[in-house]
């Protein structure tokens, strides 16, 4: 990076929050601070929801995921449109009519205070930890590649987001997110164009895509019922549905985004925008990764992308072994590059037999190269047993730093940080709102003026921000960044979603039954997580089904005396 990159990076990162602080300088009522006074337009809601979900991991890890395994990961988002429509039809009308600040406020009115606090607590514990991962994820990769100090990167990114979220509340979160999404979209579009531009001149775009397709990197949809496959249409649609329903219906960081809409119609339109755009957006990001993969079929990639880890291994006496792998990898790459030449000529000639033979040879050489890289990565782990990040997380930024021009590098670093800021801002805003509205106001000071609650919300934003920074600095973060957030969410989302499913659809179940059911289901999920290797998406289903089933049983047995329908039960709306 040179001064142009730093200029672009600082301009992109600082200009948006400064503009947001100026625009929201008069946010002093509680409604304005926590819900943007419920007058935010649908397009802003839509972009805000999108930015909250995307996060830095999407832009760091997903291109690397496509580089390593192709674009089949897009199927994990196939459950989301269905979930968003359920939220539009059932959750939004109720939340809007009851004018709640948080989703858990509704649980208090439908059941009782203890169930409300349980829902809020499950959210706080899960999101508080996830906020740390959101700050840590870009910091670990960027600090390693650019030689920055990790702790300084974490503190600067975390400090910036704490300051502007504390000052402007929900309105500044939504406002800054739409401009940050502008930075993100333009940066990713430029990265895609540059990756295409750097492909060999004698290779057209369709020919290049055909090569990637023959190498198995463009298999987006798989309708097979093969349970051994990690990503299929069915696993994405079914498993992804529960995860997305819990995330958009019961996670305050998202609920707060769409409750800021000027009407239920604005909130629904914001979610509909996401239902339509999410799959194409994820496909585009994965396609950037596939294009980077194509680029590295003609330009030799490094043996390992995590160069600082490779240098450490050299220093610790593993240089000879790495050199051995480097030579083998180079020979494999040269053979594969020649094989791709044969494949493109065969495709141009149209001889199916020659195409099939060339494809098989290229795939064999690609697998050979991947095996060599995997063996080299084992050396890195031997050299540094604390190595926590996946090599694929370094693919995209290595490409950006090595091959893109100055200015664009700064913009792409800004993309990653913008995603981190926008997701963290929404999270801190939701954590502070939930702590204020669900704990502080009812339990500590019930009838204070708005200004007092705004002041407390600001303090709590700072407290949660410091907690997230602390998690990012000191926690032993998991290896796979792309899945860390989803795993953490899945551990708590099932029980949380179960509370809302029972609230909406099982009208005769009352507070004590659902509370006991949720506590037992949550403990069961955590025990299963520690003792089995069930796929993490299933925890959403197990937790939700456990709460629904056990609450029915408890209501019919232990808590039978209170079995009459509650006067406050709220039926779903399907209009």
């Amino acid at each position: 990076m040179n001064w142009i990159d730093y200029l672009v990076l600082l301009a992109a990162l600082l200009a948006i929050p400064i503009y947001g602080i100026w625009k929201t300088r008069h946010s002093d009522s509680l409604g304005d601070y926590l819900k943007g006074d419920s007058n935010i337009r649908w397009a802003t809601i839509g972009l805000s929801v999108m930015a909250t979900q995307a996060g830095p991991i999407t832009f760091l890890s997903m291109p690397g995921q496509a580089y390593e395994n192709g674009i089949a990961f897009v199927q994990n988002y196939f459950g989301q449109p269905f979930a968003l429509l359920v939220v539009c039809a059932v959750f939004i009308p109720i939340f809007h009519r009851m004018k709640v600040f948080t989703a858990y406020e509704y649980l208090g009115q439908r059941f009782d205070t203890k169930t409300r606090l349980l829902g809020a607590f499950l959210f706080l514990i899960q999101r508080g930890l996830a906020a740390g991962i959101t700050i840590y994820a870009p910091a670990i990769i960027i600090s390693a590649l650019l030689g920055w100090r990790l702790s300084l990167t974490v503190c600067l990114a975390g400090g910036l987001v704490v300051v502007y979220t504390m000052l402007g509340g929900t309105r500044i979160v939504s406002l800054t997110q739409q401009y940050q999404m502008g930075v993100i979209f333009s940066g990713m579009a430029i990265a895609f164009a540059m990756a295409i531009y750097r492909l060999p001149d004698d290779l057209s775009i369709p020919q290049a895509l055909a090569v990637a397709g023959k190498m198995g990197k463009l298999d987006a949809v798989d309708f097979s019922f093969d349970f051994s496959k990690r990503y299929t249409f069915w696993s994405g649609a079914l498993g992804g549905f529960f995860l997305a329903l819990a995330y958009f219906g019961a996670d305050q960081s998202q609920v707060q985004r769409y409750l800021a809409g000027e009407s239920a119609t604005s909130s629904r339109f914001g979610l509909i925008l996401n239902a339509v755009m999410k799959v194409p957006m994820q496909f585009a990001i994965l396609l950037v990764g596939a294009t980077v993969f194509l680029f590295y079929q003609f330009e030799k990639p490094p043996l390992v992308f995590n160069q600082p880890a490779a240098e450490l291994a050299q220093e610790r006496g593993y240089g000879t072994q790495l050199d051995h792998f480097e030579k083998a990898f180079e020979a494999s790459f040269t053979a594969k590059k020649a094989g791709i030449g044969v494949l493109t000529r065969a495709m141009a000639g149209g001889d199916q037999g020659a195409i099939a033979a060339a494809t098989a040879e290229v795939r064999r050489l690609d697998a050979e190269g991947q095996t060599i890289r995997a063996d080299a990565r084992k050396i890195l782990v031997q050299a540094d047993p604390n190595l926590k990040s996946k090599d694929s997380d370094y693919v995209f930024l290595t490409f950006v730093i090595r091959y893109l021009p100055h200015g664009v590098v700064g913009l792409l670093i800004a993309v990653i940080f913008s995603a981190a800021l926008s997701a963290t801002a929404a999270t801190l805003n939701a954590l502070a709102s939930t702590t204020t509205v669900d704990f502080y106001r009812p339990l500590i000071r019930p009838a204070a003026p708005d200004a007092h609650y705004v002041f407390v919300s600001r303090i709590l934003t700072a407290v949660w921000g410091l907690f997230a920074i602390g998690v990012a600095l000191f926690a032993n973060i998991v290896e796979n960044l792309i899945e860390a957030g989803n795993i953490l969410g899945s551990l708590f989302y099932g029980s949380l979603l179960g509370l809302f499913v029972v609230a909406f659809f099982l009208r005769h179940v009352r507070g004590s039954a659902v509370f006991a059911a949720a506590v037992i289901s949550q403990v069961a999920v955590l025990v299963l997580f520690k003792t089995t290797s069930i796929g993490y998406l299933w925890y959403n289903v197990i937790g939700c089904a456990g709460v629904a089933f056990l609450s029915l049983v408890f209501q019919a047995t232990i808590f039978r005396d209170g079995a009459s329908p509650t006067p406050t039960a709220t039926a779903p709306v399907t209009a």
Partner: protein, 58 residues
């Protein structure tokens, strides 16, 4: 507990409204059920395009 009483009253009001069918003109789509069907149709088209993309380049 004044807040709880107010909350119960609000919930009852919400209940009365939510159990009645919502008649609402929805910009662009007309009604919400039609909006949801259109969104599902668009999602189906996206999956079909992705499947065609997969088949074409495999």
């Amino acid at each position: 507990m004044m807040l709880d009483e107010e909350a119960i009253a609000d919930t009852e009001a919400a209940t009365r409204k939510t159990v009645e069918p919502e008649i609402e003109r929805v910009p662009l789509f007309g009604t919400w059920p039609r909006a949801y069907v259109i969104v599902l149709g668009l999602f189906g088209a996206e999956v079909a395009l992705l499947y065609a993309f997969t088949r074409f380049f495999s």
